[in-house]
Symmetry: D3
Subunit: 286 residues, 6 copies
């Protein structure tokens, strides 16, 4: 994979840790991050994580394995944490990957003196706001499932580690990082890979961030989120979902306003779905 | 134990579940709750939980045991959840009692059709606000440790179960429920047992609460928290820490402003304390 | 009818106009207002309006009759406007009584130099806020029917006459003025006759009100509305719905949360009800 | 009239109703709307409304005539309502066109199942804010005359029909839609015809709008209004009043700050003007 | 002068400095403060300052005299600063007493290690808010003259010394401390001597205040100011202007709304008055 | 010095007064201002102020000299006040230049009928906000030294002269006007000379400003300040610090987060520095 955009900053790190490097976003970010560091350490839970290239180190790590996480974190200057579960799953999976795993990561960061973490939070932290509302980072969480709940937990954890231990975090409430928007809602939530690189690098290099929350989106015409509170980070998107508008609207001319997926920002995640099943332990719901 | 205050409402339930019934607050609330229900089911993790009296049912349950939690919840109309860990502890203890255990409780409530839960949250959700700030329930969380973090998780979970499943919760950010305030900060955070009863019963019987957050304190002269957002619950305290002011101030005439315990609302919980130790896995902190 | 409370102020007017004097609230206020003026002019649309007593003048007036309204207003120092339609009705009735009639009243006030009007607005201006929300006077209107809509119109009209013509208004968003609360919601919205007198007289005599909006309620324990913005008016209630709580709760132990009348502040007014019928002009709703 | 801009969206409707089609804005919008629908139904109160072209239907309708309004609405998918009175007039004219007429329109929409209305509201809803204030859509109304008052009524009506009947509205507080700005204030309030098309079509096609309020202006350098709350609609202006700045400023170098038309956003509408005359019914103003 | 109220706190200081001790408020506070300290140091600019009693030290000091101020401050634990000019005066007098003098005081406090100052600020910091507005301590200053301006300066100075040097201040925006309210506005602004003592001692003894701003008023029915932000100080008034309402209203039945003294919170201070005279240096005002 | 940008407005004044004309910013603005007036009066305290060119008048004035200030102001239409002390200095210097001098200026403006002043305030009014906070003009002042304190005083003075005397001011909280940004913080605070001209002229010619506060910065990617409240002024920057980003970041790759100069917006001004020394008058700090 070749990367054609030029680096968005000249600031360099010795070693950056990229978790979730085998995922959709991680795969895209991996070659880009090389421009900003001497050593790129990549990790993921899956063995399919491609082998280490030049200037790379490769770790296959289950985040719930504390000792492994500590080894993975040792010696890193900063962390771009895309790892863990990135969609709605069973509570048990979410618990291990996004709660137990995240505490392991922050504890390792604290004990090894890592100064800043870029945390891939999610718009699903606020998925139960309506699509006709424009919200900002101080509006209270309204998670739309176990996944969103785990990301709300992550943000609170980040706040704690800043207030108590002085470790900085930028929590990026990622909208939809994909090659292009594929439904009406993504016209608001889409972020291009280039803009993602811009945002993550701005977050990594801004002089002071404490714990800051920013919504990850491109310069879209349709907007659910007001990033005024995060302007100190210096992220300015250059792409827009609007070049895909006609294509998307052609496919979804009509929407059902009574479908919660049309009504709420979290879309299909707000459906009760398969992860809240009766599990045989309980009886009949009254 | 006899209770002398008269019931604060005539509304009655068939079966109330009181968790954490062997704790300091639970022990006080147990005899009071009998006035409001036909059957009081009490539970705790410890075997020292006193035997069931007339009109009582007794369950010894580890909240992390999902099947046991389901049995405990079955047949209850409403739950006053004081159970779980109620002070700062190791992450592992907090995780089991307050995160895994709470999901078990809400899942049981969802599957058995329990309509409302009164959740003992804590002021430690916002422990890193300063003592010269007056905050309200919409100000973002600033937890002061694993305990406060788990309570922030609980509030977000409650919000999710309301938005997604229609189960109501009143999250009570309890200040300090003790026989009397014993330090300067408690002049702000203290709540008498009688006021606790008033608050819990108001929360249990208010017509509509969705997910509401209320700070649990008596009518103290010194105040950290603005409960305007929670006035629909109908809680009006009758006691005040001020009758103990002279006694408390006599013991603590001088405070050290440079001690985080004086500076922050969470007091001693904001100290880095014993629960954030290097654990041998890591190396030296840079 | 005798009045036993002592006047709440010693400020006196020469002539007060009380409209809607034959209604439930007007009938109660009529003897009380005598204490504050030389001449009390009472009016209503119905002939059953009791005859003028000593120090009284009686007008039977349809508010939609502009000339009659002008005669009614001539010579008055101030107006307590309870007149017009006070419940949900057909649009045509609301239009005549509360929109056409109100413009007539303000035009008469402007042309005759009346300086201040106390306008009986209604909580139904904000009836579509939920009962678990505490709102204040700056939150945008959410009327629950034609009646609430007409009262929102009245408040905007009052604002216009203040900004443009210097005529002051206190818009009182009346909750429920009745002998006692008779359902669960009224525990929040109830205002006693004595408190109504206190509020109306405070509004009439406060030095400067411009256009102020205040929610009309007693000192109830359960509260939907935050009157902080209106504290300059100097209204302090002395009664509380709480003395009737047991009686009310005994009758309404269980509520249906899925009934909009339980969910919204406007209660039964939020139902689609009989005033939004298909009227034969239209066809079938798609 | 030919239209040279390309359509701003590919979403199409079967039948759009454009009211006020003979007015200044309506005349401009009429040919543009054809690109978005199979049938364009145009209506106005004046007989001078040009004849129906291909793909058009023509209705001459007085909005106060309920039966005529119902016929006009039948069969339409959506409505762009520019009709009614669009400047300050006598109360009687405003009443019939903008209050009685608007209720007729919404009742017809409700009974015929029209899902969304774009309502031409006006900046005169907030005309009494000062020109050195930047306001947003949640600031309370301060109408500057009967016209602005009727538009405030319309917004509240729209809110009601959304909350109660699920009919969506975008209320567009139109600034000044003209070929070019012709005075200093219009440098802030001007909206080009192209931007008007962009705004109306964005409002018509956004997935979910509930009842949203947006200020209608181009991308002007001078701004009175903050549209953050309306960013979900996806309107992004491309024109700017600034290309006309020199021309305008040359004509109005000096302004009288003591003129209410300079001081308030509503400009000349805030003058007491000819529509608040003594009408012979009343006596002398005190 | 004897004092009959019992001390409001048992916390004692070794040496309190009371400046402005010969003024109206200072004279009342002087005997009361003795209950809270071993040594009461009193100071004023006038020689008429009564002689030192037992446990007192007496300093006649011009605040503009830096060396004298340093001597006055040496050895004090805390300062209740009522000194300086307390009404509207010429700029030159205000400058010396309230600006130069205040910097001298804070510099002395900084260099001698005084930890907390209670600063007599004034409602005239916000005198140009209207009497129909209820404001809080975060609303921007709108001073009504040189006096109010100097108090705004003092508050900013206090903020600076907290942020930069860690010296705490409670800025008390005093309403009207007099034996009783003597005009209509004072029904809102009045504070009794007893409540003043309660407020000053609460401010002096609260555990942490940083720089806090509180409005100084009794528990009046009519209110201009919302003290929610200052509830951590623990001030709860027991007196009310309302016992004087009839007496006051009898004297001022009618007010002129066009008089700025009726319209603005600062009352007569908002008049242009004698302290903004043309001074012969300038020419004619255009 | 030649100026190559074209005038930003065609509005012209007869005589503009530019104070501080010999300073860094003044020297740049001087030739630019000529395009907007018949006569440019320049002043400074230093004799090195270059001689008057064609269409210029030159005044050497100490702002603390009231008579001289009056002569300087006579006959001017508007004032761009860059004069006084523009960095942290001793209190005595700040006092004379920025407090005494500013009152002289406003008194002269009042007595000679000058209608509007553009006041060079400073970001040091809010220097103690953190660099990870985005603030707006209504957030309370947190000055970082005597200099910032004097600018806070100036803003309050400007508010007073607007509320009381109708003299308008735009207070420009200038970030960093230099040829280019030279450290990391300036990437947020930098304003180009061209943008400075745009801002000052917009402020001078906007129809109504009352007292408005605006932050002076270019269109930088990194932002500390939200200028939404000032959009009525019509300032739109065209330059950006970002073209210098690589150059700046190369020099300052690593920052010390524990240095207050990194943590706070006021940077080095927040250090206690040389202007808060013990001065021999006092004793040892406790």
């Amino acid at each position: 994979m070749t990367v054609e955009t030029k680096p968005t900053t000249t600031i360099r790190f010795h070693r950056i840790l990229l978790t979730g490097a085998a995922g959709g976003v991680g795969t895209q970010l991996r070659p880009r991050l090389k421009a900003y560091c001497d050593v790129l350490r990549v990790s993921d839970v899956v063995e399919s994580l491609p082998a280490a290239g030049e200037g790379e180190e490769r770790f296959v790590v289950n985040l719930a394995d504390k000792a492994a996480v500590f080894k993975m974190v040792e010696g890193c200057d900063t962390i771009l944490h895309l790892g863990g579960v990135s969609v709605e799953k069973t509570w048990e999976e979410i618990l291990q990957g996004n709660i137990v795993g995240l505490v392991n990561l922050y504890e390792a960061a604290r004990q090894y003196g890592v100064k800043r973490i870029i945390f891939a939070s999610s718009n699903h932290v606020v998925g139960f706001y309506r699509q006709d509302q424009v919200i900002n980072s101080r509006d209270p969480p309204k998670p739309d499932g176990f996944y969103g709940l785990s990301k709300a937990f992550g943000e609170d954890l980040a706040q704690l580690y800043w207030d108590k231990h002085g470790i900085e975090t930028v929590s990026v409430r990622i909208g939809s990082i994909f090659p292009k928007p594929t439904d009406r809602r993504m016209l608001a939530t889409w972020m291009s890979y280039d803009d993602a690189e811009r945002l993550f690098m701005a977050a990594m290099t801004a002089p002071l961030v404490g714990h800051s929350i920013i919504f990850g989106m491109s310069d879209n015409k349709t907007v659910f989120w007001d990033n005024t509170n995060a302007k100190h980070i210096g992220y300015r998107p250059k792409d827009s979902s609007d070049v895909f508008r006609d294509e998307v609207e052609a496919k979804f001319q009509k929407l059902d306003l009574n479908d919660v997926a049309t009504r709420y920002q979290g879309a299909a995640f707000t459906r009760t779905g398969p992860f809240f099943q009766d599990d045989g332990l309980g009886g009949k719901k009254a």
